[in-house]
Amino acid sequence: MADLTSEFLGIKSPNPFWLASAPPTDKAYNVNRAFEAGWGGAVWKTLGEDPPIVNVSGPRYSAIHSNDRRVIGFNNIELITDRPLKTNLDEIRQVKRDWPDRAMVVSVMLPMNEQTWAKYLPMIEDTGADAFELNFGCPHGMSERGMGSAVGQVPEYIQMAAEWAKSAASIPVIVKLTPNVTNILPPAKAAKDGGADAVSLINTINSIMRVNYDTLTMYPSTDGMGTHGGYCGEAVKPIALNMVAEIARTRETADLPISGIGGVTDWRDAVDFLALGASNVQVCTAAMVYGFKIIDDLVDGLSSFLDDKGMRSVNELVGKAVPSVTDWQYLNLNYVEKAVIDQDLCIKCGRCHIVCEDTSHQAITNTVNGERRFEVIDEECVGCNLCVSVCPVDGCISMQQLTEGVDPRTGQPITVEKANWTTHPNNPMRKA
């Protein structure tokens, strides 16, 4: 059995799965239940100044569903904790005392002046918490007050607040990044420059879910009016993975420990984050959709996966896939793949044909010798993977590399020599 124990900034937890700062970690009752269920740690729901903020009493959440109502994407307009600071601190202290083996990180969001940070952080640290997470991500409500993503979108502010936090705290400081930026690297560098010990990402993405088809007003709404909220859940994972990988593969930020967040629902999502450079993962939406019991599959699935790979600890997985991420310009343009359809698995739905015919390269037949049959025409196939993506039968279409001869589409001989855009004749900026 692989060892799932995890150490992040020296903070130990029995597994690398923490609950992200959100409603699941809003009070002792929830966090106790989570720890009973087996979660490795929790990032307490973001604390702010007293008096606490207030939330709307209308709908805070909404979802994009599949037809059988599976939640694919999730959105919220919830603010930070709406409970008095003292209540939260008392509960944090109690939970940490009751669960010494679990990670207890406290998320904070404070106005942009140093005195406030100097005032609150020591108070919070006194609870016995293991680390701070600075919430520079919340994209709604708090950002209108100059906090949350309003800070997270300006690298100078991130650096400033990180410095204040570092000087007020003696425990590690994690900076939680907002994805509502065009490039994640400047905020990550700013966090590092400000002395942050690690980054966590992503927070939620600015979003409007839909309109109400009866009233033609924004949905959901509070008394007829709505506001953009934060998007999360399965649908956002690819966005999060890209940002995590960017930080992990960029020289200046590569040594920043990363706590990966965004759409983790089953153990495979965790493998994605870990292999692309995160040292642990945080989960919010999946727990809000299914309850804490999903930790069983997360732990069990990851452990079996590591066993199958012959890895003894999570650390062996961390960053494994990072070297495989590069810029487009370095992709080998001499490499050729063609789609191949396994006729024994094909159920003849014809979807590969119609998508390639209508929107791609007219490279799949619909009739062969008068019979309904779907075959790839190598002379036309550009290897785009569209058919693989739409085929309803897993494994029926595979992309296979041409290793010799000529590419029947281009007439170019197949070569093992690599060549990329940087040296391509069509590139006006090519290197000699």
């Binding site: 037809n67 059988d68 159920i347 003849k348 739905c349 014809g350 979807r351 119609i354 619909n366 309904r372």
Partner: protein, 452 residues
């Protein structure tokens, strides 16, 4: 309809057949004659719709005799566009509501569904079709309009699925239609023949009313060959469509006795009965035949309370006209199916008491008698061995073959101004859905002819 059980005497003698009313209570009967396949609820429909792959050149559509764009209507269910979904269905098949209930989907669209290859379980196309169309009939929403009047008049003989489908399409195309119908009600076998548990709550009549609501269709009670002749219709109208079904029943070829009934007649009475518990039902029921009618009379007899029901068919299970699903339905209703035996006589004095059979076998595909005989007790014998065209009104003028009207691919008969479709034509498969397709195809052919 004459009483199918003429007096069997009040004698309680040991020979008296066991035929009684009220074998089951009205509540039991109501339960037995509820929907065979209950309609899908919204969550079920959405999940089932999600199973459709939206196939290219969908095999299910090819397998549908009316060519409904099945992935198209299912996609519209997924997006909660039910009116659009119903329109997609009904524009190809105006009886899409009835067909959703009575089509043997297991040998049509659902047999062709690619999900069978994937997981041995097709998309429930029939149930989805019903889900999409039910609200239209419940609300009486009209989806189609009468076309601009052409001033042409078409006579339609027969107001069953073929005739009504033809009439409706002709009306959409702007022609004026007069339907001549023999039976009291319209709908043909939808109303008088199809098993009661397939079309509950007077659906057949609701569908007829909805079809006629388009306007431009006049209905007259008249029998071709009795009240009117084909020559008169040809004379008075610009074109004629024949959809008169099969008016008579094949002969069993043995001497008959009281208690030996045509399944079709009994079913018609059952379909029209207000209180099914008042129907006389035999204790031992023997059904002769192997098609849909045989299954229907057998299952319905059981559901009316018959103690024992046996179907005897002269060939094997593969040759039965009833689909595998229908055969299994009979068996799960406690009906016993016997193959390879043919009746050679009805036994009994003044009422049937048993049937004598001889075993048969196939010899190079030909049916041969084996000489081996047996008898089976029977209080009632149902003949379900097929119907035949009442051809007297037609023989002089129309080309017939094997007792059915010959038509071309456009449903045109040997006469230039006469089209025909449904059960009465040669080469059909005696299904409601095919009758509808014939009517639709004929309407377009007639339209082209009239606009010529």
């Amino acid at each position: 309809m004459p009483n199918p059980f003429p007096s069997t005497g009040s004698s309680m003698s040991k020979n008296a057949p066991d035929i009684r009313t009220g074998r089951l209570t009205r509540q039991e009967i109501d339960a037995n004659f509820g929907d065979l396949h209950p309609p899908l609820k919204r969550p079920e429909a959405l999940i089932e719709a999600d199973r459709c792959y939206f196939c290219y050149d969908a095999p299910c559509t090819t397998a549908c005799p009316t060519g409904i764009d099945i992935p198209g209507f299912i996609q519209k269910i997924r997006s909660d566009n039910l009116r659009g979904s119903a329109t997609t269905i009904l524009e190809e098949n105006i009886m899409g509501g009835m067909c959703a209930r009575v089509c043997p989907t297991e040998v049509l669209c659902e047999e062709a569904c690619v999900r069978n290859t994937h997981e041995d379980k097709p998309v429930e196309i029939g149930l989805l079709q019903r889900y999409a169309t039910d609200p239209i009939f419940e609300a009486g929403t009209q989806l189609f309009e009468r076309g601009e009047a052409t001033g042409k008049r078409v006579a339609v003989a027969g107001g069953g699925p073929a005739g009504l489908a033809c009439a409706h399409r002709l009306s959409m195309l702007g022609h004026e239609v007069v339907v001549f119908n023999r039976d009291e009600k319209l709908g043909g076998l939808n109303e008088y023949g199809i098993a009661a548990y397939k079309t509950v709550n007077e659906f057949a009549q609701r569908e007829v009313d909805w079809i006629l609501a388009i306007g431009g269709i006049e209905v007259r009670s008249a029998t071709l060959g009795g009240d009117i002749t084909l020559a008169e219709l040809r004379d008075e109208y610009d074109a004629v469509f024949l959809g008169i079904g099969l008016g008579s029943v094949n002969d069993l070829g043995v001497e008959t006795l009281p208690g030996a009934l045509n399944a079709i007649d009994y079913i018609a009475e059952l379909r029209q009965a207000d209180d099914k518990s008042a129907l006389p039902v035999g204790g031992n029921v023997v059904v002769i035949g192997g098609g849909m009618t045989a299954i229907d009379i057998a299952v319905q007899s059981r559901r009316l309370g018959a103690k024992q029901v046996d179907i005897v068919y002269r060939r094997g299970p593969e040759q039965m006209g009833a689909s595998r699903f229908e055969q299994e339905l009979a068996q799960t209703n406690g009906v016993r199916i016997h193959h390879w035996a043919q009746p050679i006589g009805l036994l009994g004095d003044d009422h049937v008491s048993a049937v004598e059979f001889e075993r048969t076998r196939a010899d190079n595909g030909k049916l041969v008698m084996t000489g081996e005989r047996f008898t089976m007790d029977a209080d009632v014998v149902f003949k379900a061995i097929g119907q035949a065209l009442v051809d007297e009104p037609l023989t002089d003028e129309l080309q017939l073959e094997r007792g059915r009207i010959v038509v071309d691919a456009e449903q045109k008969t040997s006469l230039d101004d006469v089209w025909a479709g449904g059960d009465c034509v040669r080469g059909g498969d005696d299904l409601t859905v095919s009758a509808v397709q014939h009517g639709k195809v004929a309407a377009h052919a007639i339209d082209r002819h009239l606009r010529g």
